[in-house]
């Protein structure tokens, strides 16, 4: 299972541990490098000292450090280190054939490996000799005819002498081991502290997410009016809370709509079933009370339920978008007037003033049968719910049509629910000739046709606008 906390813990702990290791390694290598440079510098100084190894004490003291300012320093102390066995300071030279020509007394029985320097420039190396001692060596060749001498004191003016000066690294290795141990101990402590710190920090940092989870878990269908409290929320989570509260608003509206639909559907179905049940039971219990009216009522109930079922099925069909459309060019004015024809007589009876305002022939690519269904619903509503001597206006728009009627007597709140399934203006729902699905069906058909059906009110006028959907919305 993916866990942000686990992932962050691994990444942060791992990353910080690597940083600690890198830092420790850097410190170790820097110290080691510094120590080796110091030894190398010492070896370079000692190179000068070794020039006096075969001279007299006086000569050595007079010529030691000739190019340094200040009073001359005595090399005797330095040279003494090369005379003492086990001092850790070694000097040895070889002729080109590899025969040892000179060595300091400190070398004793040790056998230094013969180096192979390529030039007179000193070359530094770290070696390990037979007894396991690690040495830092400086190797170089002497200039021809120069300074090297054979063991017998004869001059070898035309040949090179190979010289090694070495310092024992035991003390340095000890220092480095101590440093490494310290670094490891500090590193382990730092690693442990890092893991604890990262874990604690993440726990605290993710606390708002846990609280959000707890708040979310407490919400169910019974308390959808609950909103997420963002007062103590970190600023990073405030947009999340805001969007969640927006989501809750939408869910609550949907639930309320569904609840209303369920309640309305229950009422629409329960009442005819109750009627049917009572008619049947009374007819069975008192057969003399049953007559033609009983059967007519039974048939009416069956027809009412059939209409309701058909409407619901049609609604489901259009909402699923599975029904095939027969799109063709439709003259909106002609279709509208054809659809109006069945309602004209009722409008006359109710003395409605009916006005058609088509400024130019509107051609629409649509399914004429489905569009007729939408228009029939709108006209049926307009004629039925416009008071006597009221007005109905049908006007063309650039991309659709508007059907308005006045007076209508609906409130803004009622208009906001006008497309809800089973919504009826009369809460009592006494009129069994209506199901309350007509406008829902009209809107579903409009959606299927790519048209937007909207209702609005302006003073005494209720308007239904049917127009092409804006592709950007």
């Amino acid at each position: 299972m993916k866990s942000i906390r686990r992932k962050l813990t691994i990444w942060l702990s791992g990353g910080l541990l690597l940083l600690w290791i890198a830092a420790g390694a850097g410190i170790y290598l820097a110290v080691r490098n510094g120590l080796f440079k110091a030894i190398d510098a010492q070896l370079t100084v000692d190179r000068e000292v070794t020039r006096f190894l075969s001279k007299t004490e006086t000569q050595r003291e007079d010529n030691f450090f000739p190019d340094r300012p200040g009073p001359p320093r005595r090399p005797s102390d330095k040279l003494a280190q090369y005379k003492e066995i086990g001092s850790g300071y070694y000097y040895q030279s070889w002729d080109e054939r590899g025969n040892s020509s000179e060595q300091s007394e400190s070398v004793g029985d040790l056998i230094l490996p013969i180096p192979r320097p390529t030039s007179q420039m000193p070359e530094f190396a770290t070696i390990q000799i037979g007894d396991g001692t690690r040495l830092r060596t400086m190797n170089f060749r002497s200039a021809p005819g120069g300074k090297g001498r054979s063991k017998g004191g004869k001059s070898r003016n035309n040949s090179h002498t190979i010289i090694t000066i070495a310092h024992d690294l035991s003390e340095t290795d000890q220092t480095l081991s101590t440093l490494l141990g310290g670094l490891i101990v500090v590193g382990l402590l730092a690693a442990g502290g890092t893991v604890v710190l990262v874990g604690t920090s993440l726990k605290q940092g993710l606390k708002p997410l846990r609280e959000l989870g707890d708040q979310t878990a407490a919400i169910d269908a019974g308390n959808l009016s609950t909103r997420f409290d963002a007062t103590k929320t970190p600023v990073e989570l405030k947009p999340v809370y805001s969007r969640l509260n927006g989501l809750m608003d939408r869910i609550q509206i949907s639930f309320d709509r569904e609840r209303r639909f369920s309640a309305d559907l229950a009422h629409e179905i329960r009442t005819p079933i109750a009627e049917l049940k009572m008619l049947s039971e009374v007819a069975l219990k008192w057969p003399d009370q049953a007559g033609p009216d009983t059967f007519k009522d039974t048939l009416d109930i069956a027809l009412q339920l059939e209409t309701m079922t058909e409407s619901l099925l049609a609604l489901a069909r259009w909402e699923s978008g599975e029904t095939k459309l027969n799109i063709e060019e439709v003259n909106l004015e002609t279709l509208t007037k054809n659809c109006w024809t069945p309602y004209a007589a009722t409008a006359d009876q109710k003395q409605h003033e009916v006005i058609f305002q088509f400024t130019e022939p509107a051609i629409l690519d649509s399914d004429p049968a489905l569009l007729s269904h939408v228009l029939n619903n709108l006209f049926s509503n307009a004629v039925e719910y416009t008071a006597e001597s009221g007005s109905i206006t049908v006007s063309s728009l650039d991309d659709g049509i508007r059907i308005s009627n006045s007076p209508h007597g609906l409130s803004e709140k009622e208009i906001s629910r006008i497309f809800d399934r089973y919504w009826r203006r009369e809460e009592a729902r006494s009129d069994s000739s209506h199901v309350g699905l007509g406008l829902s069906l009209a809107r579903s058909c409009s959606d299927a046709l790519g048209l937007d059906l909207a209702a609005s009110t302006d003073a005494e006028w209720l308007s239904f606008t049917l127009r092409k959907k804006n592709p950007t919305t």
Binding site: A263, A266, H267, R270, T271, I273, A274, E275, L276, K277, M278, L279, E281, V282, K285, W286, Q289, D297, D300, I301, E426, E427, A428, R429, S430, S432
Partner: protein
């Protein structure tokens, strides 16, 4: 027993009315909440059956108005509203019963009987005066072990008299509770019905008169000690 029925569905209203009348009740029915309230305020009913969603005043508002006026008529809601909230709200408003549509006829009749018994504070369905036993549930009457064959209206009349045993029941009250609005002020339908009932409750092995006339007042049903 006289009942008020307020139901906006014509088919349901008419069918329930038939069923109740066939069961011996006098029924006044209307489809409108405002009319229902007026009828409940101006007539004495043994029980009222109200739909909740009604044209005009809704059922809950009718009941609130009646209870505010100290009208204690037992009321049953007959509605499609089936949520717990609806039921609790209805009962807390003062309803005595709540029946959700669709319902069974027998259940409706049984609940109406219970409501009417409650009006007379009778817990059991069997009422007895002397050796006459009346079972409101089974709609049976017997005297000294002999079953009596009564019409629905005679049954209702006897039931009313037995429920008010020892008390004078006026003709007007009988008209109000047993008959619906077809009775004219000058009609002697009550006297005829009482006469007929007296004959029917007289059986060979028990002929003591139990329904007595109180001149100028009405009738009283009781066993007079000899």
């Amino acid at each position: 027993m006289r009942l008020l029925l307020v139901e906006d569905s014509r088919r349901l209203r008419e069918t329930i009315e038939v069923a109740l009348k066939q069961s011996g009740y006098a029924v006044d029915a209307t489809e409108n909440g405002d009319d229902g309230l007026w009828m409940a305020q101006n007539h004495s009913y043994d029980a009222a059956i109200l739909d909740i969603m009604l044209p005009g005043l809704d059922g809950v508002s009718i009941l609130k108005r009646l209870r505010a006026e100290n009208n204690k008529t037992p009321v049953m809601f007959l509605t499609a509203k089936d949520t717990i909230e609806d039921k609790v709200n209805g009962l807390r408003t003062g309803a005595d019963d709540y029946l959700v549509k669709p319902f069974a006829l027998e259940e409706l009749l049984a609940r109406v009987e219970a409501l009417c018994r409650r009006a007379y504070q009778e817990a059991a369905p069997i009422t007895q005066v002397a050796d006459i036993k009346l079972d409101t549930s089974a709609k049976k009457v017997s005297r000294a072990g002999t079953d009596l064959d009564l019409t629905a209206r005679e049954f209702a009349l006897l039931e009313h008299l037995m429920l008010k045993q020892g008390k004078v029941v006026s003709r007007t009250e009988i008209e109000e509770h047993i008959y619906d609005d077809i009775v004219t002020p000058m009609s002697n339908v009550v006297d005829s019905a009482i006469c007929s009932l007296r004959k029917k409750i007289t059986v060979p092995n028990s002929s003591q008169a139990l329904i007595h006339t109180r001149r100028g007042q009405g009738y009283v049903m009781e066993e007079k000690s000899s």
